[in-house]
């Protein structure tokens, strides 16, 4: 590892959060001479690629400089007072839990910027698009990097406005209402979360997440903990999303432009689950313990519900939208994440975090693929795509078809790919939940979750069969549009995701070695 001293790391982390914000402001200014490119649009899109690329490089440097021998402790910490009146401090830092998420965010945003550079979504000027994309990146990176409850809330809210505009201005059909639904659901959730954070912070006497985690709920009464856990949990559950608070998600995904969907699924949903692991579990352990069985029950309901909804959409003649289907599959996958968290064990939480990352990679890839398919054929309607006898993507565009099949099997959790380990560990956690949680109940959840994996496999294979398989000659005879195969920029945007999916599937130790010590320090006193 490259030896970087702590000052350098600190500077890196600050730069990672601040650079996108500066880039967003710069995107609104006219390009300086020498950087004008072929026109203002091209210049600003290139600016987006440059800034997100620089941020990615910085996060990778951060990951390299990170002391991998002690991932359980906060590193690259900087702590400055910002608003003394509220006790808000600019406290940044990263550990084994947040570092992978920072890298994932930077990577996905960079790939989105790259993809948009070649294929700008339909809508008004790219200037605002790039500025919003960078603001969104700033908000998400800040969410994972800050260690102060109020700053966390600020960062959590920061993503709302850019995401609203990305959906409402560059989205597809039904974008207006979908964007509203997204913003109202998440805002309603987050004001409730704010109340919970205030209850927690005011009663504990600090808004500092590290100190809250160290105190581990000591000095907080049971009632306070229950109220705080409920309020914070509700806000995070809307974002995660947890069934039955998920209903904004399918609409938002269906209407969002491709890069919007990728970031929404790949990064934004993670903010919710990250909040559970970082704030609720260590900060209000009693409250978390009280609600864990309910959280698990809702998570399992989400798994089953998501899979059944997907099965219904995948049926022939159901007029199912492929984007909507993947959105519902997200509900199911996030159900596994929440189930892992609800076990309150090291195994389960590690599984949850692993599934979190895997979902970011795989679903990001799937949304890219479906977006590309929609751009080529003009529709994401499954029945139209599949025709009567099958879409025959293997025959018509073999690489695209292959990638779609790859994404689908990765998503269903095939061993050897990223999706497998997270779900396995989450279910394993449910087999031996934390002391004090009802084991029979969790065994039932385990069984239902396992059933969910079967249903997931069923609908994803159904999609692959309908879209990818078939006779190309018959498909052509049916009048299905010709589909050009994967283009250069698409390779550039997708290859990293494919490679990382395989790596994360074959070498889980790399990530788990990073996360496990951090999880152990967040959940002390748990044996498994």
């Amino acid at each position: 590892m490259i030896p970087l001293d702590d000052t350098a790391l600190r500077g890196l982390l600050i730069a990672v959060v601040v650079l996108p914000l500066l880039g967003a402001l710069a995107a609104l200014l006219p390009a300086p001479p020498g950087l004008r490119g072929r026109g203002p649009d091209q210049a600003v899109l290139r600016h987006g690629v440059t800034v997100t690329g620089a941020v990615l490089v910085l996060t990778v440097l951060l990951a390299v400089g990170f002391d991998h021998d002690r991932p359980g402790t906060m590193q690259a910490e900087s702590d400055v007072s910002w608003i003394p009146a509220l006790g808000v401090r600019l406290h940044l830092g990263t550990d084994g839990v947040s570092l992978p998420l920072l890298v994932l965010t930077a990577l996905l945003t960079f790939l989105c910027a790259l993809y948009s550079y070649a294929k700008m979504p339909q809508g008004p000027s790219p200037k605002a698009f790039v500025a919003l994309l960078l603001l969104l990146e700033c908000g998400t990176l800040a969410t994972f990097a800050v260690l102060d409850l109020m700053l966390f809330f600020l960062a959590f809210e920061t993503v709302l406005v850019p995401m609203y505009f990305l959906i409402a201005r560059w989205g597809g059909e039904g974008r207006g209402p979908a964007a509203w639904k997204f913003v109202l659901y998440t805002l309603l959730g987050s004001v409730v979360m704010l109340l919970g954070l205030l209850v927690l912070g005011l009663n504990a006497g600090t808004f500092d997440m590290v100190r809250l985690a160290e105190a581990h709920g000591s000095g907080l009464g049971h009632t306070t903990q229950v109220i705080a856990a409920l309020a914070i949990g509700l806000g995070l559950a809307v974002k995660a999303p947890m069934w039955p608070l998920h209903s904004w998600l399918p609409d938002a995904h269906t209407a969002a432009p491709t890069v919007g969907s990728v970031l929404l699924a790949g990064v934004l949903l993670k903010m919710g689950t990250y909040g559970f692991v970082r704030i609720v579990l260590p900060g209000v352990p009693d409250g978390a313990h009280t609600f864990a069985p309910y959280l698990a029950a809702f998570a399992v309901a989400g798994i089953i519900y998501g899979s059944l909804a997907c099965l219904a959409l995948a049926r022939k003649g159901a007029k199912g939208d492929l984007k909507r289907l993947i959105a519902y599959s997200s509900v199911g996958h996030m159900g596994f994440v929440l189930l892992g968290i609800a076990t309150l064990t090291h195994t389960g939480v590690n599984g949850a975090l692993y599934a979190n990352l895997a979902h970011g990679l795989v679903t990001g890839l799937l949304f890219f693929l479906v977006g590309a398919l929609k751009d080529r054929t003009g529709t994401s309607d499954l029945d139209t795509l599949a025709g009567i006898t099958g879409g025959a993507l293997y025959g018509r565009a073999p690489r695209l078809g292959g990638l779609l099949a790859f994404g689908a099997v990765a998503s269903l959790g095939l061993p050897g790919l990223a999706g497998f380990w997270g779900e396995l560990l989450a279910l394993l956690g449910a087999y031996h939940p934390a002391a004090g949680l009802s084991r029979p109940a969790f065994l039932v959840f385990l069984a239902l979750g396992a059933l969910g994996t079967l249903l997931t496999a069923a609908y994803l294979l159904l999609v692959v069969r309908r879209v990818c398989m078939g006779d190309p000659a018959e498909a052509r005879a049916e009048g299905l549009a010709t589909v050009p195969d994967v283009r250069g920029y698409e390779y550039a945007a997708w290859t990293p995701l494919v490679v990382l999916t395989v790596v994360a599937g074959l070498w889980p130790g790399a990530l788990l070695g990073l996360m496990d010590p951090a999880v152990q320090s967040l959940l002390p006193g748990v044996t498994r």
Binding site: W82, I83, P84, A85, L86, V88, G123, P124, A128, L135, G139, M150, F153, L154, E157, T158, L160, V161, Y164, F165, A168, R169, E173, G174, R175, G176, P177, W180, V183, L184, L187, L188, V191, V192, L194, L195, L198, V199, L202
Partner: protein, 542 residues
């Protein structure tokens, strides 16, 4: 009117009543300078108007702005001194005028707000051909009353200051000659306000009868020990006084005059009422509730909490009902939103009724009021700037403002997001957090939840308006209907020709552009360093 514009006379009179004994009190002219300078400037303007030729009348506006600015500067040497003046020479040493942190902060808000209003009005007075001398005289008189109010520490001075602040405001509202809407609004405003004053005066006299004093400190001490035969009288007095002040803050159900009055008034006057008028009402309410009647906190605390919940809900629902194509929709929406914001301002005062240290809770109101003042004046400034004189100011007219006036649109979007409390309006967000904190601290969980719901409701209309600014101009009016997705696509495709069809808006006048820039810079600075505004939350003010 002249008697009312000379607050010092009224002041001395008020003191007489309570003092008895030695009549000559020493006056600290530096401490009273801020209201006095403004009052003197009012008289100067009124007289100068008689001798100025018509074409030089514009000077009056700049003179008024100068007076307000310099009055604001006289606050600087007073910081941290806690000066007192007009003190009784008897044993109790009660003072009628105190320049403590609370007074100075509200005076800063009032004078700064009036300064911004003056800048806004310079263009409006010229365009709408308002009578210059009268307008500036009334504005300065009202500002002097509002500046006197937060420093007053006896009930008589409070009432007089409040009347000095509000009586000229009626005239300001009705100043548009020959406009039915305007005079109707002035009458509504006048009648409701006079009712409030009458109720308040009755209450004050009861309190005086029961406690034998006008000074807030003495009243606070005397109230718990009132003779049991007088306790009903004291309680009635307290209730009536509080009702009167609540009326002045336009808290629901006393808010009904607000929307029509704002629409009928010239836009800068509406801005003035929404910020300075409110600040005066709220500082009066704080002084009376927290400084004079703390012993009744268990009574007014819950009542104010209910009023706060009611006010914010009524205001936000009213704002939510505004349709994009209604005439004067922009001002009307800001009017309803100001009612909603008044509800948030009430929350910490209500919380003060429950808290062990009421002063600290009230700081949240002050912090929120400062944020609200800057941002709301900014929003009104943009409205005044982009709404050409004579247009009916529909919300739909703001569509595509980002194309015609990019900077004004960006400023308005920022102000609206501050009001909504969403990033990048960081200061608005944290000001709301302080209010939430006050509520949660006082154990008013239900009020915090009601407020949370209101924040979401408010977001709908603030964000709708913000989104409208960035929509491409519709090719056809039919596409302006909400949710006109098909129309929007057409508009997006035909943005080039459609933009040309928009009537070229006049360039912003210099004072208006300066105002927008000034408020924008302030809001931006406060967003970067919220401590500037939030330092008042949680500190001892009195």
């Amino acid at each position: 009117m002249t008697a009312l514009t000379a607050p010092q006379d009224a002041h001395a009179h008020g003191v007489d009543l309570a003092a008895g004994g030695h009549l000559v009190q020493s006056i600290d002219w530096a401490a009273v300078a801020p209201p006095v300078i403004v009052a003197l400037a009012a008289l100067v303007v009124l007289v100068a108007d008689l001798f100025l030729a018509e074409r030089h009348k514009g000077l009056l506006g700049w003179l008024s702005a100068l007076a307000l600015g310099s009055a604001g500067l006289t606050l600087l040497p007073l910081i941290g001194d806690d000066r007192t003046t007009f003190c009784l020479t008897s044993a109790s040493r009660d003072c009628s005028y105190v320049a403590d942190t609370f007074a100075l902060t509200v005076q800063l808000l009032v004078l700064g707000g009036a300064f911004v209003t003056a800048l806004l009005s310079i263009t409006a007075v010229r365009q709408e051909q308002l009578p210059a001398g009268e307008f500036w005289f009334l504005l300065l008189s009202s500002a002097s009353g509002a500046a006197l109010l937060p420093a007053s520490r006896d009930l008589a001075t409070l009432v007089v200051a409040l009347e000095v602040a509000s009586l000229p405001a009626f005239a300001l509202v009705g100043l548009r000659r020959g406009e039915r809407l305007s005079s109707e609004a002035a009458l509504k405003f006048f009648l409701s306000s006079v009712t409030a004053t009458a109720v308040m005066l009755l209450g004050v006299s009861f309190v005086y009868a029961a406690t034998g004093s006008m000074h807030l400190g003495t009243v606070a001490q005397a109230l718990p020990e009132v003779d049991s035969r007088l306790s009903t009288l004291a309680a009635t007095g307290v209730a009536l006084t509080l009702v009167g002040f609540a009326f002045k803050t336009a808290a629901a159900p006393f808010h009904f005059w607000v929307p029509d009055t704002y629409v009928g008034a010239p836009v800068p006057v509406a801005a003035y009422l929404s910020v300075i008028g409110k600040a005066a009402g709220f500082s009066g309410l704080i002084l009376v509730a927290v400084r004079a009647f703390p012993s009744y906190a268990d009574a007014w605390g819950p009542v104010l909490a209910v009023l706060a919940a009611l006010t914010m809900s009524v205001g936000n629902l009213g704002a939510l009902r505004q349709r994009a194509d209604r005439a004067h929709g922009a001002v009307r929406l800001l009017a309803w939103s100001s009612v909603g914001q008044a509800g948030y301002l009430l929350v910490p005062i209500a919380a003060a009724g429950y808290a062990d240290e009421p002063d600290r809770a009230v700081g949240a109101t002050l912090a929120y009021a400062l944020m609200y003042a800057v941002v709301n004046l900014g929003a009104f400034a943009v409205v005044a700037a982009v709404q050409p004189y004579g247009s009916n100011g529909r919300l739909a007219d703001y569509r595509g403002l980002a194309r015609t006036h990019p900077l004004a649109a960006a400023a308005l979007a920022f102000f609206l997001l501050c009001l909504a409390g969403l990033p990048p309006g960081v200061v608005g967000l944290f000001a709301k957090v302080t209010v939430f904190q006050a509520a949660v601290d006082a154990g008013l969980g239900w009020l915090a939840v009601v407020m949370a719901l209101n924040v979401v409701i408010a977001l709908v209309y603030y964000l709708t308006w913000t989104a409208l600014l960035f929509r491409p101009v519709a090719a056809e009016p039919a596409a302006e209907a909400p949710g006109g997705v098909a129309g929007e696509v057409v508009g997006g495709a035909a943005a080039g020709p459609a933009a040309a069809a928009v009537p070229a808006l006049p360039r912003l006048s210099v004072p208006l552009a300066v105002t927008v820039a000034l408020t924008g810079a302030l809001a931006l600075a406060a967003s970067g360093a919220p401590q500037l505004v939030l330092r008042f939350a949680g500190t001892a003010l009195f």
